[in-house]
Amino acid sequence: MDLFVRSVKSVSQLFGFIAAGLIALSVLVVCHMVFVRYVLNQNTIWQTDFVTYSLVAATFLGSSFVLTTRGHVAVDILPLYSGPRQRWWLALFAALVTLFFCAAMTVLTFLFWRESWDNRWVSDTMWRARLWIPYAAMPVGLGLLTLQCLADLVSLVSGREPPFGIVKEHR
């Protein structure tokens, strides 16, 4: 189990780097777009689409990394002020909800991606980008997120991680 938890975390971290790289690349492409459009006075073709697709991809691919850093905001008022036992049950409920959503979305986005692949969808912009490429970020990112949720659930149930990462009593 340790191997599973550690491996998933490592892959999540790798995807965190990829997401950060995509955001950095988007900043550079926006600068390039501004230069082409406002300095060279030329039309831009691919930049708008590329930046939008990159940031959507960064969101999905980086989501599991953000989960490992507890970066997805949650209303933690009940977990903070409840006793250890109730907190554990709350954490179990929260983990199952997250797992349900991520697993369901992985399946749904995979079906959506396959539709775009089978029907050779392209964007309705000048670039005519093949949409299966940006859409692939959804099942991949959400699939990894599902695995990360599963690893978190295993960590909670086996006592590797305290519920919600709260170590000391909050008063």
């Binding site: 930046v51 989501s63 949650a74 929260a94 979305m105």
Partner: protein, 438 residues
């Protein structure tokens, strides 16, 4: 089942889901899927993936990671320290000058980073120990920094305004401009209160036995000036209609990173990763909530819940100001428990038609909503800024910090009342600079 009954079920389950501590994005998404299946069957699920993706497939959203990166670059650098020093060296001989320089530094840093916690941490680390060293009461020292930090989401560029603009299709440029005067007004209210309370408690101008030289006074300014110039440039480009918010923010982000590297020699990979990691964390978190909120909004609309609520409120025939009061109380309660980004994305699409129908200006309401969200940042039980300040001054009991923030909460409520009486404070600048029709 009637839409009213369905609405009550959705509300109840949403509350249970959010209070359980599940991440807001995943909780909202899970509820949406469950209710789509319950009321529309499994066949309706085929739109879920497309709706989720379409929530993010918008070039306007590009401005969010760009503005976040701008703030992360400045927030990771010692710019906050330099800004604080610069203001203190100019204002230190004024009565209560330190309080003014603290809140002034918060307001300027707010404009630079757009982040409330970053503002609180950066200025608080310098400001709180210095205020306490010079004899300011603990609750004033900590309370004023908590309050000053909240200006981050009101003074432009502000992520909160971008989210409101996207959720309600209101002009982001207009919203940014609308935040300027209320931001200055709120800063002034905070300063007035701070000066009043320290005067009332018998605290007088501190007889410092030293004076800063002119050289010292000018020392920090060259380090800060480029960042302020970049933000001013971004604003100019935005309002001059020269570029879109995403383009302006993208170039601004690149320039801020370059400046942080050049001025503060942040060229180590570790420092670059800190900027990118913070940007990724915050952007992914916000964008995930946006996608989930779009799915949630789709579910509410397809079950006719939004329309039913708007009609029910219209049928109540209450006075529009009573309605505004009720909306503010509702938002205030939401803000006590839920972070501003999530509250705005969840409630703005529902409230927008109600606000429009009641004849309120959506830009003005965006400012009211943001000030309301600021209150939640310094009000128990959540009050994110309180805990940040508590980590800076661990020897001050949290309850004392909380009591210190209460007068500033009242200042914000006063600001909302003033804005209700004089909406021009928010609307004059955008109307004047961008024309009255929107």
């Amino acid at each position: 089942m009637s839409p009213g009954m369905q609405g009550a079920m959705v509300l109840l389950l949403t509350l249970v889901m959010l209070l359980s501590g599940a991440p807001v994005a995943f909780g909202l998404g899970a509820i949406s899927i469950v209710f789509i299946v319950i009321f529309q069957g499994f066949d309706a699920l085929h739109v879920v993936a497309e709706t989720f993706y379409s929530g993010l497939n918008d070039f306007t959203l590009v401005s969010i990671p760009m503005f976040v990166m701008m703030g992360a670059a400045i927030g990771s650098s010692p710019a906050g320290k330099d800004l604080y020093e610069a203001l203190d060296r100019w204002l230190y001989r004024l009565p209560g000058g330190l309080a003014i320089s603290n809140l002034g530094a918060c307001a300027i840093f707010a404009a630079l980073t757009g982040s409330s916690p970053a503002c609180c941490a950066a200025i608080g680390k310098m400001g709180i120990p210095e205020m306490r060293r010079r004899g300011y009461p603990d609750d004033v020292a900590t309370g004023s920094i908590c309050a000053g930090g909240t200006l981050g989401i009101l003074i432009p560029p502000s992520i909160t305004f971008i989210l409101y603009g996207i959720a309600t299709e209101t002009s982001i440029g207009r919203l940014f401009l609308a935040g300027v005067l209320p931001g200055l007004m709120l800063t002034s209210l905070f300063i007035i209160w701070t000066l009043f309370i320290i005067w009332k408690r018998g605290f007088r101008s501190h007889a410092l036995d030293f004076r800063y030289t002119w050289k010292q006074k000018f020392q920090s300014i060259p380090k800060i000036a480029p960042f302020i110039a970049i933000i001013a440039g971004v604003m100019y480009v935005l309002y001059g209609g020269i570029a879109t918010p995403s383009e302006a923010a993208g170039v601004g982000a690149a320039l801020c990173v370059v400046m942080a590297v050049v001025i503060y020699r942040m060229w180590r990979p570790k420092e670059w990763w800190a900027i990118l990691r913070d940007t990724t964390r915050e952007s992914v978190m916000i964008l995930m909530i946006i996608a989930a909120a779009v799915l949630f909004g789709y579910m509410l609309t397809s079950l006719y819940l939004t329309q039913t609520l708007a009609l029910a409120i219209a049928d109540m025939h209450v006075n529009r100001w009573v309605l505004m009061g009720m909306i503010n109380v509702f938002l205030l309660i939401c803000g006590f428990f839920i972070p501003p980004a999530a509250v705005i994305l969840m409630t703005a699409p529902i409230l927008y038609p109600i606000i429009k129908a009641a004849g309120f200006d959506p830009v003005w309401f965006g400012v009211i909503l943001t000030i309301n969200m600021e209150i939640g940042l310094i009000h128990p039980p959540v009050g994110l800024n309180i805990y940040i300040v508590s980590s800076i001054a661990p020897d001050v009991p949290v309850t004392r910090i909380m009591w210190g923030t209460i007068p500033y909460v009242l200042c914000m409520m006063l600001a909302i009342v003033i804005l209700c009486i004089f909406p021009e404070i928010a609307t004059w600048l955008p109307d004047h600079m961008m024309g009255g029709v929107h």
